[in-house]
């Protein structure tokens, strides 16, 4: 009886969160209905024409735009996934630092950028990389270049530049979770390895890396599921760094949905693309989960 009561308490504690998830993640799904109507803001849905799959067909007709946007989304996400081991390496290196004070200092400094809003990041980038920016000024004064570089307006460099900014912003933050995972590894394993004569690098490769792999894979899996939202940064990064010179290489799916939905006012079309994106993301998550189960014998769900 006592056991049952504690179970009910636990359940009651969870209910508010379930309600929150329901309110903010499921109720908005009713908004999907707009994709099937020729909706104009200001005119009630009841007075709006039902058009079925018209806007999904449109999406197919606008395949050139969609293809470009998808390529950018996937490229940016792929590069950010490719960069995800950097947080692992960084966490391991931090962990290996002898001076705890210095470790905390580095960790704090690298975590800070995560809390800087994207508009400030843009201003910083403009201050650093614009034609009259710090980088150009230093390089020109050193006589290394004659004309200023314009990385923010260089289409060819866009994917790399954006990835570099994402890494700068998220490296320290991403390392926190791995530092926690490392802290969870049994210290006796290290002691035993030491006794067996394992060097520092060997201990890292034989104990630390395998110890944090499950965490890495869970995060990787979640990253893959959000591949169409181009990684952690997504819309805001896209929004602030967008300009006509790099437009064709930077515009990702979320920004496109915003542009057609809010800026142009094609709310129905934007919603249709949003739906397609959600469905593909769910499909990707299941695929990666199945793959993980098959290859590693583990899965998230």
């Amino acid at each position: 009886m006592k056991y049952k009561a504690s179970r009910i308490t636990l359940l009651l504690m969870v209910i508010p969160f379930i309600l929150l998830v329901f309110a903010f993640n499921y109720i908005p799904l009713f908004g999907w209905i707009y994709a099937f109507y020729d909706y104009k803001p200001g005119i009630p849905l009841s007075q709006t024409e039902f058009v079925g799959l018209k806007f999904f067909k449109w999406a197919i007709e606008e395949k050139e735009d969609l293809l470009r946007v998808l390529t950018n989304t996937l490229a940016l996400s792929f590069l950010s996934i490719l960069a995800s081991p950097l947080s692992v390496i960084f966490a391991i290196l931090l962990n290996e630092l002898r001076s705890k004070k210095f470790q905390k200092l580095v960790q704090t400094l690298t975590t800070l950028p995560n809390f800087i809003s994207w508009i400030i990041v843009y201003s910083l980038a403009f201050f650093m990389f614009s034609s009259g920016g710090l980088v150009n000024e230093v390089l020109m004064r050193l006589g290394w270049i004659d004309e200023p570089t314009t990385v923010m307006g260089n289409a060819a460099a866009t994917w790399w530049f954006q990835t570099a900014i994402t890494i700068w912003k998220s490296l320290g933050w991403g390392a926190i979770i791995y530092l926690a995972a490392i802290a969870g590894i049994d210290q006796e394993l290290y002691d035993a390895a030491k006794v067996d004569g394992a060097g520092r690098f060997q201990r890292i490769m034989a104990i630390t890396v395998p110890g944090i792999m499950p965490t890495f894979f869970v995060l990787l899996l979640l990253n893959v599921a959000s591949v169409l939202s181009n990684g952690a940064s997504g819309f805001e990064q896209n929004f602030v760094f967008y300009n006509s010179l790099v437009a064709d290489r930077i515009e990702a799916l979320d920004y496109y949905v915003y542009r057609v939905g809010i800026t142009t006012g094609e709310i129905s079309f934007g919603t249709a693309i949003g739906i397609a994106k959600s469905l593909i993301s769910i499909l990707l998550l299941f695929l990666m989960n199945a793959l993980s189960k098959k290859v590693r014998g583990h899965s998230v769900f």
Binding site: P44, G153, A247, I262
Partner: protein, 567 residues
């Protein structure tokens, strides 16, 4: 809710008593006192017996920094309506419209007129002006309200909107939009004549050659542009040349996208390309946002712009360095300057409407009635009677202290709130009111003369005029420069909102244009390559429907013109 303050009544009583006690010395004084009595009676009529309310108002180009200014407080005192101001933002507006959360009073963006009326988001005002719009029933507004019913009503023939800034317009103190350069540099070059886009670029190139770096060694550029105002930047040269969809030079409609010779778009492209060829185009010209341009202007790395606005801060600093240092608009003896004209429809995207969410539509109408009235317009443009201006010999005249305050600028001036809500002013600055004066008492040659700083003085002396804008005015009078008076503003304003397919085409064409322009400007090595690249982009624009868009525009323009003529 509290009852309204009774101060106005007391004020009238005191005025009447003073008049009785002191008697009337001369005719001028009598007229002045009668005037006072008249306006204060009106004040009382506006407030008597009405409870104070707070209304949420969405205003164009005005934020809540206007709140608690003297003009703001006076509006509240005279109407009993407190404005809770929200500045218009296109995206916020769209979201509010979609969610049914529009504020009590809005200023209608013309392109959203149809949804607002069709969806019942704004209410008809025909009955309300009968009960709460006494000023709007004056003959002065008859034509404008008739225009609103015919063209801005989604064919319902009802009155949904109250226009602002109706009447005639003229030059102010100085022209802010135009070819802005450093005056001392221009003087140094011997005031060269500028007769074309080529000349503009050449003058800038010479300036950069002489002043290629800032004091702290940063490279100076001649030309740049901001890119965060939609396609404003890439059409901006039309504000100088007069080319655009309605071409003031030919007085005809021109396809701005495809007509390379008479287009604001291709004029801008040519200007940027020539600048690039001379090596004076800022590498950030296609990435910079407005604030970036302001930063460049302030640190001295940019020496021209299409408007004085980015140089406001720079000008204040430069004036400390020398009496003739600063940025000014050079009057060119050709093209266009963005001023003038008379409009029945008033300013586009600014007409007032009351949303269906408003719980106090009568009070909202009271407020609108006041803002567009003679009294309201004068208050917005010139400040409070007795405080900022007064009647001298029965003529309304600004007080010297007000002029001094305006010239000094800063927080004390801002606190007055004068001129801050010109976008909500019913009658245009130069409209003549029943007291014989114009709405904006700052717009007189006498006041202009007191506003001149050392830079202005040097400028006006060179051109032999009394105030900076007069240099333009003279050219206009000589027929050399066109103004808004050469544009059929009321016909263009009467055009209906774009249907969905046309809207989509224009979006697509603009998108291609914004992306393609850098290729034409930066990717052309010589004039032939420029022409070829330009043609290639024009072909793409045509493929995306630029001609279909223009055909629609032309058809609707002709229809609106015919409808306007037949009224």
């Amino acid at each position: 809710m509290k009852l309204p303050a009774r101060r106005p009544r007391l004020a009238i009583l005191m005025t009447v008593m003073l008049t009785v006690l002191t008697g009337c010395g001369d005719a001028g004084e009598k007229a002045m006192k009668q005037q006072n009595a008249r306006t204060e009676t009106e004040d009382a009529a506006l407030t008597t017996g009405k409870e104070p309310v707070t209304l949420k108002v969405q205003l164009s180009s005005v934020g809540n920094d206007f709140e608690n200014t003297e003009v703001y407080n006076e509006i509240e005192r005279l109407t009993g309506v407190k404005m809770n101001i929200e500045m218009y933002d296109e995206q916020k507006f769209k979201v509010e419209l979609a969610g049914g959360d529009l504020p009590d009073i809005i200023q209608v963006p013309n392109k959203n007129m149809k949804e607002l009326i069709e969806g019942g988001n704004i209410i008809p005002l025909d009955d309300l002006i009968k009960t709460n719009g006494p000023e709007l029933q004056q003959p002065l507004y008859e034509k404008s309200l008739d225009y609103m019913r015919t063209f801005w009503s989604d064919n319902t023939n009802k009155l949904y909107m109250i226009p602002v800034q109706i009447g005639s317009s003229d030059f102010g103190f100085e022209q802010q939009v135009g070819f802005n350069v450093r005056w001392d540099y221009y003087k140094e070059l011997g005031y060269p004549k500028i007769e074309s886009i080529d000349d503009m670029v050449n003058v800038l190139a010479e300036m950069v050659e002489k002043h290629g770096t800032t004091k702290d060694g940063k490279k100076v550029y001649g030309v740049s542009m901001w890119n965060d105002w939609g396609t404003w930047g890439i059409r901006s040269m039309g504000l100088i040349t007069g080319n655009g969809m309605y071409n003031v030079n030919t007085q005809q409609l021109v396809n701005d996208y495809t007509n390379a010779e008479h287009s604001s778009i291709w004029d801008t492209a040519l200007f940027l390309y020539k600048a690039q060829q001379k090596g004076i185009l800022d590498p950030d010209a296609f990435t910079a946002k407005y604030n970036d341009i302001v930063a460049k202007a302030s640190e001295g790395t940019l020496i021209s712009s299409i408007a004085t606005w980015p140089f406001t801060r720079a000008n204040a600093e430069l004036l400390k360095e020398g009496p003739d240092k600063g940025f000014v608009t050079i009057p060119l003896e050709w093209g266009f300057t963005n001023v003038g004209g008379t409009s029945v429809s008033g300013w586009s995207d600014r007409a007032f409407a009351i949303s269906a969410n408003c719980k106090y539509p009568e009070r909202a109408m009271d407020l609108i009635n006041f803002l567009v009235s003679e009294q309201g317009s004068r208050l917005i443009g010139s400040g409070i009677e007795g405080v900022h201006w007064d009647y001298v010999d029965s003529k309304p005249v600004l007080k010297q202290a007000t002029v001094a305050l305006a010239s000094a600028g800063g927080d004390d001036w801002k606190k007055t709130g004068i001129g801050m809500i010109a976008n909500q002013q019913g009658l245009s600055d130069y409209s003549k009111l029943s007291d014989g004066g114009i709405v904006n008492l700052f717009n007189t040659p006498e006041v202009f003369a007191t506003k001149l700083n050392s830079l202005n003085k040097d400028y006006v002396e060179h051109y032999g005029v009394k105030y900076p804008a007069e240099a333009y005015k003279r050219l206009v009078e000589q027929g050399k420069v066109k103004t808004l008076a050469n544009i059929p503003q009321d016909v263009l304003s009467a055009m209906p909102s774009q249907p969905d397919d046309i809207k989509r085409i224009q979006t697509k064409v603009d998108e291609l244009l914004v992306k393609g322009m850098p290729v034409v400007v930066l990717g052309s090595e010589n004039d032939d390559a420029f022409k070829a690249n330009r043609q290639e982009l024009i072909d793409k624009l045509i493929e995306a429907g630029a001609n279909t868009y223009f055909d629609w525009f032309k058809r609707e323009y002709e229809q609106s013109r015919a409808r306007l003529a037949n009224r």
